[in-house]
């Protein structure tokens, strides 16, 4: 059933041979072991070809053993959990894993699109811009879809993600990125000093390069030191090691982003667990011990499967006991690459040759070569003979001009190491060039951050340990922890001695950016065409813009640019570094903010009662509001709403209006304060009275409206619209604290504290008398229109009662503490039964306000003035208030402004819709004669036809005029008559009666 793991060593490695795991790649069954990644398991099974390249569909193998991998991207899992572009090098193997190669059709080995290689000349740098320019309309219709189909990598599942993602906060004194020797030493020092430490490691096992390279620390093998250190750290209660967690970004104020792959190593997350967790970590100090990334050398055929980074090759052999090659060659320009030869020899592999670009090789390595019986060739690799089955032969140019050939089935490459400078550079830091390692190293870092070890350009094991330890101790000290840290772990530093080599000229494609198929000649072409700046180079060739962010390609790319443009590498410079360091799923950023938990839901106090009545709810901001209450036999919403309106106008109804913003305004200067924030005057309002108020923005445009009542000499109760409840509170606090601090006034938001119901209709008093204590005088004299006061209810509960009307009917609004809201709704139904009480929703509320010509959200549009709304007379001339001066600007008082007016269709049967444009009758509609638009419409049961409100140029001077309603979106054209916006009871007798 499964193949034999033909390329697995019989012993060694950090895999658990007692736990075999079955998996499938492109449908074929394989097996691996616990502790494998998908990449190491494929290697152990002798699989070399794992994908096709982006543009040219070239066969590609595994290049690295970490998150820098550009080639080995797969679709992991199936169905709704299928995840494209997942790195086989970081995907942990689990039993039943299914993965598929990408960018090939019909199969990986026989890919039709590999003919792209024949058309390679048109895929050069900038090909998007050059090839598909004309005709313009072909771009969207033909070119782009074709390119996307051909050049796409993995496919998204197209099905909603069934898993959960979480977001969490963590706080610490010292945050450490990376668990290699530097990171562990930092954690030891900081932990011993007593600091709260979080150490993030993207791998599933801590240890970093120690896991692959070993070494001797404090006189014991690295593995022993590692387990001892991890045990000591585990005993420290304030040290937390988070594996499978990549630190991906640095934000202001010591805030860091990290992505924890909580359950990616399982087929699916266990019940009630999340797949991934996005951490925001607040740290006083951060030690970046993120290590370094080995860089390729650019030569022809360097993308042949079987060509691999030297450090990755020895990781597969040492950590995973998997052999990428049986007979391998090494191409290096530095001493470190030779460690792969040592590891390979130790595992019993054959070395075909070492091609060393340097003029000198150390005596130790020379004797290693003679003992191992392989040649050391001074020179460079100029070509690779091989294909989808891997490397066969390696063509070498020897120093001095001679040529040689090496037969091998694998080629390890080391062009040196680039410190991982991402985290230190995310705040626009520009790393500096360090000559002895020919690499960019951090030049400063965001506040509180420091790099240590290989991330700082110091590659030796001894240097990593001592720097990490010192950084951890300093960070602990800086955060006030002075415990004894002891002595830094010690080790020798290995020799590095690098002679820079970036690109070997030769015949055939030499890849710089494997994932985006950017070649050395693309960079040369970009330079010839003037795209010499690194930022231009990046965008013209797409170098470094793939999901790997150019981790293996950026420095080589700009080194080649430097060479062809005759500048030094530091003169050429780097592009700006931006997070995230590793790809982060959008789902992780969203966390639980999706579907029904996308935002909080606010329920009105009578919500559950309304739901029992079968109410249809509508979302208004965060609120769910009852929109109408359908009854059996009603054929549509209009029938229900019409019934509700008629029931109110003919009897009594009630509606939950608790969503209005409510603010208690207290203090001796409360009236003076309100005078400054409203256009009209409130200091003169009598206690026990309510008044409609209008607020402007400081630029003179209307901000909000509502009714404010005076409950006591020093106590007002202010209401806002539902939409602006929070914003008005914020605005009033600004006025109170920042603009008018001399006023003795306090504001308290009580929106959630009061349940408020509007009770409207000619029988309102009859109903209220059943609810309110009989001692309360509700007569027109005892409680006149716009009266407002506290009353006792039957049973003793205190309520606030306001005689205000939005519907135009005799109406009251009653407020009770929110916890009594549900009971109040039920009581109103009970007490109102004899009077035919009818609950009504926001639709009926809206119909009645349009019939009454009241403005609401559509008219308070952020473009209208008080005068536009017909409320210009409310603007006091006797006081200063917010927006007063700007409201007087010429354009805001121009006579031809669009103002609120009523409209009704000349054809009584015609339905109106909001948004239609108002055009003078007989004219062809166009922007030149657009005189306004329809803001609100409703079917008016009272008028028995559709009516509406509109903003129309000079509308109030044109009452009676027939104009044209033009609705190009819905393809409707009709005539309407401009009319008084108050359709119902224009003299207001009903609401005062």
């Amino acid at each position: 059933m499964t193949s034999s793991q033909s390329h697995r060593l019989t012993s060694g490695g950090l895999i658990d041979r007692s736990v075999p795991l079955n998996f499938r790649f492109d449908g074929k069954a394989f097996s691996g072991f616990q502790g494998d990644t998908l990449a190491s398991a494929l290697i152990a099974n002798g699989v070399k070809l794992v994908g096709r390249s982006f543009k040219y569909h070239r066969p590609r193998g595994i290049l690295t053993a970490g998150s820098e991998e550009p080639n080995a991207l797969v679709e992991l899992r199936t169905g709704a959990r299928r995840e494209p572009n997942t790195k086989a090098t970081t995907a942990e193997l689990y039993d039943g894993l299914e993965a598929a190669s990408q960018n090939r059709w019909p199969s990986l080995r026989h890919d039709v699109m590999s003919v792209n290689q024949l058309f390679a000349p048109i895929f050069v740098a900038g090909f998007y811009y050059k090839t598909f320019m004309w005709p313009a309309k072909f771009w969207e219709a033909i070119y782009e879809p074709a390119i996307r189909r051909a050049a796409g990598l993995g496919r998204a599942s197209g099905i909603a993600d069934p898993d959960h993602y979480d977001k969490a906060w963590a706080h610490c004194d010292v945050l450490i990125a990376g668990s290699g020797p530097a990171g562990l030493a930092a954690a030891l020092a900081a932990g011993r000093a007593g600091a709260r430490v979080i150490l993030c490691e993207e791998d599933f096992v801590p240890g970093g390069r120690l896991l692959s390279d070993g070494g001797t620390i404090d006189g014991v093998p690295a593995a022993e030191w590692l387990s001892r250190t991890l045990a000591e750290l585990a005993d420290m209660p304030d040290v937390r090691i988070m594996t499978r967690t990549a630190l991906f970004g640095v934000y202001d104020g010591g805030t860091y982003g990290a992505i924890e792959r909580v359950n990616d190593h399982l087929p699916s997350p266990p019940q009630h667990q999340v797949r991934q967790r996005l951490w925001r970590i607040v740290a006083k100090r951060c030690v970046v011990a993120a290590g370094a990334i080995e860089r390729p050398i650019v030569f022809a055929g360097n993308d042949t499967p079987g060509v691999m980074m030297a450090s990755a090759m020895r990781t597969y052999v040492a950590r995973y006991a998997a052999t990428p090659a049986k007979r391998l060659a090494l191409f290096t320009n530095n001493e470190d690459g030779w460690r792969t030869v040592e590891t390979a020899l130790g595992a019993g592999l054959q070395i075909a040759a070492v091609i060393d670009a340097r003029s000198e090789v150390s005596p130790a390595h020379r004797s290693l070569a003679s003992k191992g019986g392989f040649p050391v060739l001074h020179g460079s690799v100029r070509g690779v003979d091989g294909g989808k089955d891997g490397v066969r032969k390696i063509a070498v140019s020897l120093t001095g001009g001679a040529r040689a050939e090496v037969e091998a089935d694998g080629l390890a490459v080391s062009g040196g190491w680039n410190p991982a400078v991402g985290l230190t550079s995310y705040h626009r830091g520009r790393p500096k060039w360090q000559n002895d390692i020919s690499a960019f190293v951090p030049d400063g870092a965001p506040p509180g951050m420091v790099a240590a070890g290989a991330a700082n350009g110091d590659f030796g094991l001894g240097a990593c340990l001592s720097q990490g330890f010192a950084a951890g101790a300093a960070a602990a000290r800086d955060t006030g922890h002075s415990g004894t840290v002891g002595i830094a772990p010690a080790a020798d530093d290995e020799a590095f001695s690098l002679t820079p080599l970036w690109h070997v000229a030769g015949k055939g494609k030499a890849f710089v950016d494997y994932q985006h198929d950017v070649t050395a000649s693309d960079i040369e072409l970009a330079q010839r065409e003037g795209f010499e700046s690194v930022e231009h180079l990046k965008r013209y060739t797409t170098l470094g813009m793939a999901t790997d962010q150019g981790k293996t390609s950026n420095v080589a790319g700009l080194a080649i640019m430097a060479a062809v443009s005759g500048r030094s590498i530091p003169e050429t410079g780097t592009t700006i570094y931006r997070p995230p360091y590793v790809p982060v799923a959008i789902g992780a950023f969203a966390g639980h903010h999706r579907d029904e938990t996308f935002h909080a839901t606010r329920l009105t106090p009578s919500h559950h009662w309304a739901a029992e009545q079968g109410a249809i709810f509508v979302d208004t901001g965060l609120w769910k509001r009852a929109q109408w209450y359908p009854r059996a036999g009603e054929k549509d919403w209009l029938e229900s709403v019409t019934r509700e309106v008629k029931a109110v106008r003919g009897g009594v109804g009630f509606c939950d209006v608790s969503t209005l913003g409510k603010i208690d305004v207290h203090g001796p200067d409360a009236g003076a304060f309100l005078d400054r924030v409203y256009i009209n005057t409130f200091s003169s309002l009598a206690v026990g009275k309510a008044r409609y108020g209008l607020m402007l923005r400081e630029d003179g445009i209307v901000y909000d409206d509502g009714t404010t009542s005076r409950l006591a000499e020093d106590h007002y109760f202010l209401t806002t619209t539902t939409a602006k409840a929070g914003l008005v509170m914020q605005h009033l606090e600004f006025c109170r604290q920042v603009l008018f601090p001399e006023l003795d006034v306090q504001l308290t938001s009580v929106s959630d504290q009061w349940a408020q119901f509007s009770i409207a209709g000619p029988k309102t008093r009859d109903l209220l008398r059943e609810i309110v204590d009989p001692a309360e005088d509700l007569s027109n004299e005892g409680f006149p229109f716009m009266g407002a006061r506290e009353v006792a209810l039957r049973g003793g509960l205190r309520a606030r009662l306001f005689r205000i009307s939005f519907s135009g009917e005799m109406a009251f609004e009653i407020s009770v503490p929110a916890r009594f809201g549900d009971a109040m709704a039920r009581n109103l139904m009970l007490a109102g039964a004899p009077f035919g009480v009818t609950p009504y929703g926001t639709e009926a509320l809206g119909v009645m306000r349009v019939e009454k010509g009241h403005i609401a959200g559509p008219e308070l549009s952020g473009t209208t003035t008080a005068a536009d709304l017909g409320l210009g007379k409310m603007m006091s001339t006797k006081k200063d208030y917010i927006g007063r001066v700007m409201a007087g600007r010429e354009a805001l008082v121009a006579p031809d402004r669009q103002v609120v007016v009523g409209i009704k269709p000349t054809d009584k049967a015609r339905r109106l819709r909001s948004g239609a444009h108002i055009i003078p009758k007989g004219q062809t509609p166009g922007p030149g004669n657009d005189q306004g638009y329809v803001t609100s419409v409703c079917f008016s049961p009272t008028s028995d036809q559709w009516i509406g409100l509109a903003l129309v140029e000079r509308g109030r001077e044109r009452i009676g005029e027939i104009v044209h309603g033009h609705d190009p979106l819905r393809g409707e054209d009709y005539d309407v008559e401009l009319c008084n916006p108050v359709f119902y009871d224009p003299d207001g007798g009903r609401q005062r009666g």
Partner: protein, 91 residues
């Protein structure tokens, strides 16, 4: 980003709302249209130290004057904004 509220201590950005430049001061009653226009619309676009109004709506509801460097995002001072927006605080 984190702001140290003088009343609540260090809190995360999500608790705060940004309003804008804290430098303009509301002219006194009776100011000319030009003066008010400047107050409402004209802003410096400083590269460096600025003072800004932030609202701690997720905390104590205080309006704060935050001194921040637009180049480094460093916050060097956070004070209650009481009265800083008025040209003359009446007695």
């Amino acid at each position: 980003m984190r702001i140290v509220c003088p009343f609540c201590g260090e809190r995360e950005l999500g608790e705060f709302t940004y309003l804008g430049d804290a430098k303009p001061m509301r002219p006194e009653a009776g100011a000319s249209e030009d003066e008010v226009f400047d107050y409402v619309y004209l802003r410096d676009n400083a590269a460096g130290q600025t003072s800004e109004h932030w609202y701690h709506g997720g905390g104590c509801r205080a309006w704060l004057k935050v001194t921040r460097n637009t180049l480094t995002h460093e916050i060097s001072a956070v004070e209650p904004a009481a009265g800083v927006g008025a040209r003359q605080v009446a007695k």
